[in-house]
Symmetry: C2
Subunit: 337 residues, 2 copies
């Protein structure tokens, strides 16, 4: 098994303070590897990075059209949002369309990462609820499919028809049998695959507009929804939102917990997946920005790129103490090409 | 150079989801390595883990006695606190003793990690100030020394007498010249050393009661203060506080940003220092608990040990999804002994 390779460095002063290793794959629309770093066959949990795959049955089943879902609903189904009002208002309204309320959720409560939303709850003396959970859009998608299927309320159990439909879409688009699942932060099953399998699924999405089958049409529609609503997929100041805005419709990207990031690049028919071996988000953000820059879909000198690819390390008084940056090992794939 | 070794694993379901590598040294009171993992000579920033070293000149200068500092003050000088009232009330009172107020600080404001303190500020519509900075005890120690010296107000500049006194104590206890410094989160210079150097400094503290010189007396007094006030060194629920309480005076321990942890074990005359190469706190907490357990100063089945050495990974609904644990590579040093 190939070891993970250095991907992201944190320099403070003249010393390398911390180093993140990882695995990454760029995959084409035939499912073949264009470039790999580390071990393409290492098994990972995609975590929230595969929400667009989990959302496929919502569309292919006919549930999305039956309930009149638009691109905002679909972006939220793929989102790890920060619990801002733009997210929670829409999730609340969508639940109402289903004649459901927060009690139908099985994702658990979470304090919003969005500061105004968080502070508003604290000032009002109101506890965060399941609607604030960063996965509440995905779960409303699950509930929509569940209602359409007439299935039981415990929709996060692995044998529930909603999760089995998600597994079928996952294995189809990754091109692999999943070796098993773990319980995600939102209590839904998260199926494992390889980094190559996850990149292959992203290449499936990237090339979906070339095909006319129902699932490919669903993949194209979800990709468009993500690119159309970067603010709904994450939130103000977040990497997914800022980098998608910076790319202006050239790619859809999605973070996953424990250092996962994926990209769908329709114009190049390429999918990208990466996993930072130690699970650190700052490193995954830097590495995906570096790869997108290397592929020519993100400008290196865009302020959003610099914010995540070359994040300044500041003291609490705002003094510049260091920098996060991609490693030579990560970038040389592009400089030597 | 020896590579870092696997130290902490995160398992989700049956799959290893994330892995943290690191370097660690156990050092005796002659400065020799008892056991090392990875590269003992790798250069690191100790960050907040060396606050007890930075506090030595506060005592050796005579400033602590001149201003009547007690063990609570000394524990706060070594603290990375969570901004709870027990910390900020004492820092405020100490500043008053010096006829100073918050404006004298150069550490910058920080939102308290302590939830009741944070929520109290938000409800009152008051911004966090520099007193809430986790390093405000250390900075009040700096200001105390600064007043005693009659030195200028810019006490975090590297050439200021306060920082030069700290550097002298640092090089003396680590037994090495520092190759340079970085700017810490609190804007003070943080001098670099090796993992071995940092462990040697901790062994200096562990054996300080055996010696009668002024600096050794200061080291013994600071170690006692940390062990006597584990609640002031960190805060309720934090690893330093809970693990020191669990050891009941058998060791003083201290975390540092970017995955550093140290331990002072007076009864064994041993010092420990470790650095997680990727800078992750959860891994450093697990690894230091594992080493303290291996050394026989922390009980493996104590609830605090299990909380940090074998932290359960829970979903937001409280389902058990996995576990953080020390690696075989880390533990075999003790099982084969």
């Amino acid at each position: 098994m190939t070891q993970p390779v250095p991907m992201t460095e944190l320099w403070r002063g003249t010393i390398l303070e911390s180093l993140h290793l990882g695995h990454a794959v760029i995959c084409d629309d035939s499912g073949l590897i264009v470039h790999a770093w580390g071990d393409p066959d290492v098994t990972i949990y995609p975590r929230s990075s595969c929400k667009m795959v989990q959302a496929l049955p919502l569309l292919t089943s006919g549930a999305a059209d039956k309930y009149g879902l638009n691109s905002e609903h679909l972006a939220l189904a793929c989102a790890s949002h920060d619990g801002a009002a733009i997210h929670t208002d829409r999730v609340r309204a969508w639940l109402s369309q289903l004649d459901l309320d927060e009690d139908a959720f099985r994702c658990g409560p979470q304090e919003p990462a969005n500061i105004p939303a968080r502070d508003g709850l604290i000032r009002a003396g109101v506890s965060p609820c399941q609607i604030h959970n960063n996965c509440s859009g995905k779960h409303t998608g699950f509930l929509t499919l569940c209602s359409h299927m007439g299935a039981g309320p415990e929709y996060v159990e692995v044998n529930h028809p909603v999760q089995q439909a998600g597994l079928a879409a996952f294995e189809d688009t990754t091109g692999q049998s999943s070796p098993g699942f773990g319980i995600d932060g939102c209590s839904a099953p998260n199926f494992a695959t390889t980094v190559h399998g996850l990149a292959r699924a992203m290449a499936y999405f990237a090339s979906a507009a070339d095909r006319s089958d129902r699932q490919s049409a669903a993949a194209a529609r979800l990709t468009q929804a993500m690119m159309q609503h970067p603010d709904l997929v994450a939130g103000e100041g977040r990497a997914c939102t800022e980098l998608m805005r910076a790319m202006g419709g050239h790619a859809a990207i999605k973070t996953g917990a424990e250092g996962v990031y994926v990209a769908i690049i329709p114009e190049k028919r390429l999918g990208v997946a990466l996993k930072i071996a130690d699970g650190t988000t700052r490193a995954a953000e830097c590495a995906i920005a570096a790869i997108l820059t290397g592929l020519g879909v993100l400008e290196a000198d865009h302020p959003a790129t610099r914010k995540f690819m070359n994040a300044p390390v500041l003291s609490r008084r705002g003094l510049l103490a260091g920098e996060i940056k991609p490693t030579t090992e990560l970038m040389q794939a592009f400089t030597s090409a």
